[in-house]
């Protein structure tokens, strides 16, 4: 294995993290209309994107928020990174690789409020089911003794230096950086996400009532 360090990446190595992906130019006129609005970003670490779909389940209520909010990096916009400091960062998915750690730290440094959305971000969720096994067994199952292995090909565990290193365990986000709020659920309802965002946008203390809090 290489001694490739993600902390001190040499640009000559041509390594790129997801938050460093090339900035998609945004129309300057449009950007001017977003000045002064509350900037919100979303990122998925190791999850299934179901929480992002729940964000869409806010349906037309998103439009009522857009008077006060602008959505920067997200899977709904075509902006690949946080172009500037955000007020709110939603994080979906748990931490399962060095790149996830880098991305999460980047979000912590660039968001005033960071929110764990969904079971994977809150406690590891489905990906954390591998925590009960040694990592070597998981990699062996995935690459060496995989039932979908291509016949006749010698199986290997990928270890190219440009590939991010998988962490031994899957961690909830708050075990890596401080998270400010939690929205449990697999995925949470759009109602729950809306309630938290609406509270924040309107300067109310965040309050997710028992009727909207569920773990499954």
């Amino acid at each position: 294995m290489s001694n490739h360090s993600l902390k001190n990446v040499d640009p000559a190595d041509n390594v790129m993290f997801s938050h460093d992906l090339p900035k998609t130019p945004v129309d300057a006129e449009f950007l001017a209309t977003q000045e002064g609005k509350i900037k919100v970003s979303m990122i998925a670490l190791v999850g299934c994107w179901g929480c992002t779909l729940s964000f869409l389940d806010m349906d037309e209520r998103i439009f009522t928020l857009l008077d006060k909010v602008t959505i920067l990096r997200s899977s709904l916009t075509d902006i690949k990174r946080i172009p500037e400091r955000c007020v709110v960062g939603f994080v979906e998915g748990g931490v399962a690789s060095e790149e996830n750690i880098e991305t999460l730290e980047h979000y912590r440094e660039n968001c005033d409020i960071l929110i764990s959305v969904g079971a994977c971000a809150v406690w590891g969720g489905v990906p954390s089911m591998r925590n009960m096994l040694p990592l070597s067994e998981c990699l062996d199952e995935a690459y060496i003794h995989s039932i979908t292995a291509v016949p006749g090909v010698i199986p290997i565990i990928p270890n190219h230096p440009d590939l991010t290193k998988v962490t031994t365990k899957v961690y909830p986000c708050h075990e890596v950086v401080k998270m400010d709020y939690f929205i449990p659920g697999c995925p949470p309802d759009g109602d729950a996400i809306y309630k938290v965002l609406d509270d924040l946008v309107n300067g109310r203390p965040v309050d997710l009532p028992t009727s909207m809090n569920r773990y499954d």
Partner: protein, 233 residues
């Protein structure tokens, strides 16, 4: 009759009645996991912890007596109960999204009542071996909270022998099932065992996600409302 106070409110009660029942009868819900009304107190889960005369005690272990001052809903003790529930979630592998008991699980429902969003304790992810051995019951050890309801309240109908037991000690404790006796259990007895398990450890084979989300036990009515309603009957 005797007089006690709960959160400063004067309450009349019968001497020796269980504090959980007295509180419920007066509209005060105290979460419980191991306590079952009408059955002997186990005092194993401590989730019903309240302050009695300034000291923390498990409410299910307290028979009321004259002049008793009880504090149920005050920030320090509500946070302590929340921490107890969080520690149970961190200690076992409570994967609600993939659990057959989700929506009808007392631990999950109590988690909602104490407004748990995340455990403040590190999740342990302890490996535990499931037991598929008996014909009608799957024993999912990941989820056991060692309340001992099944150990004490489920018995072989002929001999009165215990069907469930706990082996080993401390962090290595594990719930066991006597296959021979378990295979003799009637369908009603299996259903009762599944129902009295406050988590998803005792699961009836071939019956899993039988109620859709939205129509499950605690989707329809919260554990708090069920407890309060039961007390008023």
């Amino acid at each position: 009759m005797i007089q006690i106070t709960i959160d400063g409110k004067n309450i009349n009660a019968r001497k020796g009645d269980n504090l959980v029942d007295v509180a419920l009868a007066n509209g005060v819900y105290i979460p419980t996991l191991c306590y079952m009304k009408g059955e002997p107190c186990l005092g194993t889960c401590r989730v019903c912890s309240v302050k009695v005369g300034g000291t923390v005690a498990a409410a299910c272990t307290v028979p009321v007596s004259h002049g008793m001052e009880v504090v149920v809903n005050e920030p320090e003790i509500t946070d302590m109960r929340k921490a107890l529930v969080e520690s149970l979630f961190a200690e076992g592998n409570h994967n609600c999204p993939s659990c057959e008991k989700s929506g009808r699980c007392d631990l999950q429902a109590v988690g909602y009542e104490v407004e748990m969003m995340v455990s403040r304790f590190e999740y342990r992810f302890t490996p535990r071996v499931r037991d598929y051995g008996s014909e009608k019951i799957l024993l999912e050890r990941d989820r056991c909270i060692f309340c001992q309801r099944c150990v004490e309240f489920v018995r072989d109908e002929e001999t009165g022998k215990k069907i469930f037991s706990i082996s080993r000690r401390g962090a290595n404790s594990r719930i066991e099932i006597n296959e021979e006796l378990a295979n003799k259990m009637t369908e009603e007895q299996v259903a009762r065992a599944v129902d009295l398990c406050p988590v998803g450890t005792i699961v009836e084979k071939k019956i899993g996600f039988n109620d859709p989300i939205g129509k499950r036990k605690f989707d329809i009515k919260s554990i708090r409302d069920r407890a309060l309603e039961g007390a008023m009957k």
